[in-house]
């Protein structure tokens, strides 16, 4: 067992030394793998972020009810009473038109524009938190409220999130396809890299076979090499994603300031980072294994 571990450690060290002996070509190989991986992995990160935002919106679906501009106090009082008594509604929140205007003034920096208005263009509104948040229940409630007298417009605020959810499903499928394709590309890149290594080390393989090396012994450094290429490629992809996010977040902060909200893209979680590294290492190993199975058999001592 100890012997076996020592053999593996030696093969790994040997492979590392080989990798460092040709730093430029190793770095380029690793970069190719890194770029190929960073595309699907980056898309996954983006999708996760968008999904996170959508989920926060979907979590507490609201219905905004805007009253008609000409609704009088009587109408408002009636609607208030009806809403409070409605079976399907959990909680309501009244937003008087003056308060809504004030909010817009403060939060969007449009104070100058609003100050110039002679009349408040906003209606009174209610924010409703329904008890049942299923899509059908929300729509039924919306349709019902829409018919009430004095109500101008009813909006289900989570509708956009549901549309986004559908879009996200599409995005995930696209990412999956891209990921599979670029996974194949990674396998192909390591396959070729290892093929070249095998060809340049033909003499060594031949001599090793002549003096009693088992196939496992000969295979080992190549498999480690493929795995290391994959692993380092995965690390390169991780760096590419993290750096890109840092750059994007810098720009996004400016944009978000203009819209008076905060938008930050979160990077990969520790678990996802490990998954990325593990996945790329496995694919590198697979490429090396295929290459070794294909080419090593042809080298027999003469």
């Amino acid at each position: 067992m100890k012997n076996w571990l020592a053999q593996h450690a030696r093969a790994l060290l040997f492979t590392l030394r080989r990798l460092l002996a040709a730093p430029v070509s190793s770095a380029l190989n690793i970069l190719v793998i890194g770029i190929a991986l960073s595309l699907p992995a980056g898309m996954v990160v983006l999708l996760q972020n968008v999904q996170g935002m959508a989920e926060r919106a979907v979590d507490a679906p609201q219905i905004s009810v805007f009253l008609s501009m000409d609704a009088g106090r009587d109408d408002t009082a009636r609607i208030d009473r009806q809403l409070k008594q409605h079976q399907a509604i959990g909680k309501i929140e009244f937003v008087p038109r003056e308060q809504a205007l004030e909010q817009i003034k403060q939060s969007t920096g449009l104070a100058d524009v609003i100050g110039g208005l002679t009349q408040n263009p906003l209606p009174d509104a209610y924010v409703i938190y329904p008890k049942n948040t299923g899509a059908q229940a929300l729509e039924a409630l919306r349709d019902e409220l829409q018919k009430w007298q004095g109500i101008e417009h009813v909006q289900v605020d989570s509708a956009w999130a549901r549309k986004l959810e559908a879009l996200l499903r599409f995005g995930r499928l696209a990412t999956l396809i891209l990921g599979v394709l670029l996974g194949f590309a990674l396998v192909a890149v390591t396959f070729n890299t290892i093929r070249l290594q095998i060809l340049t080390r033909r003499d060594e393989i031949e001599v090793s076979k002549l003096i009693g090396a088992t196939d496992a012994f000969i295979r080992r450094p190549f498999l480690y090499s493929g795995m290391l290429h994959g692993l380092l490629g995965g690390a390169a992809a991780w760096l590419i994603i993290v750096t890109s996010l840092l750059l994007v977040n810098g720009n996004l902060a400016e944009l978000a300031q203009l819209y008076a909200s905060s938008l930050v893209l979160r990077p990969l979680s520790a678990g996802d980072s490990l998954a990325l590294l593990g996945f790329s290492a496995c694919l590198g190993w697979l490429g090396a294994w295929l290459s070794v199975a294909q080419h090593l058999r042809r080298i027999e001592p003469r």
């Binding site: 001599v207 002549l210 003096i211 009693g212 090396a213 088992t214 012994f217 001592p301 003469r302």
Partner: protein, 217 residues
Amino acid sequence: MIRFNQVCKRYPGGYEALKNVTFEIAGGEMVFLAGHSGAGKSTLLHLVAAIERPNSGSVVVRGQNVASLRGGALPYLRRNLGLIFQDHKLLFDRSAFDNVMLPLQICGGDYRESAKRVRAALDKVGLLQREKANPIALSGGEQQRLCIARAIVNRPSILLADEPTGNLDAGYAGEIMDIFQSFHQVGVTLLIATHDESALRHFAARTLTLKHGELQQ
């Protein structure tokens, strides 16, 4: 130790390299294999190390029929053989020390113990001072001696040498033969293919002579 029984080896195309070869070499014996080039000397050595397989007959090495050995068992056969090649087959991407270290790495083992054995083998062939040199910087005779060091570092019971003095002048060739003589004295079985007449005359050893693939009695 080595027994050939009616061995035939035919190459694709119909060329018969060995025809009905039968002989036996006892443990600890030193045997020369003589014959003109193309007589089948290399083929015979290849059959012993299972680098090639015979078309018919049996090749028994240390009690094992090599001709029917599975591929997976080959490495373990070869670890008990020391192979010495005319073209040395040294690796030029590493030092003399690392070249000799290779067989021990393949078997696996404690590094310090292995290093000691490598130095002992280098000392045996008189190359201890050159352990850090790249084989490319060694002379032909030194390269041949390095190849011998690599073959014996595993302490094999059988040494096979294919034209070990083929490219060397008389002085170097004498040194190499002296080294072989010393292995013979400690009980190693040696089979040396050579067309070097002086070596054959120098030692009072049994000689198998091949002519057009047939053993001359």
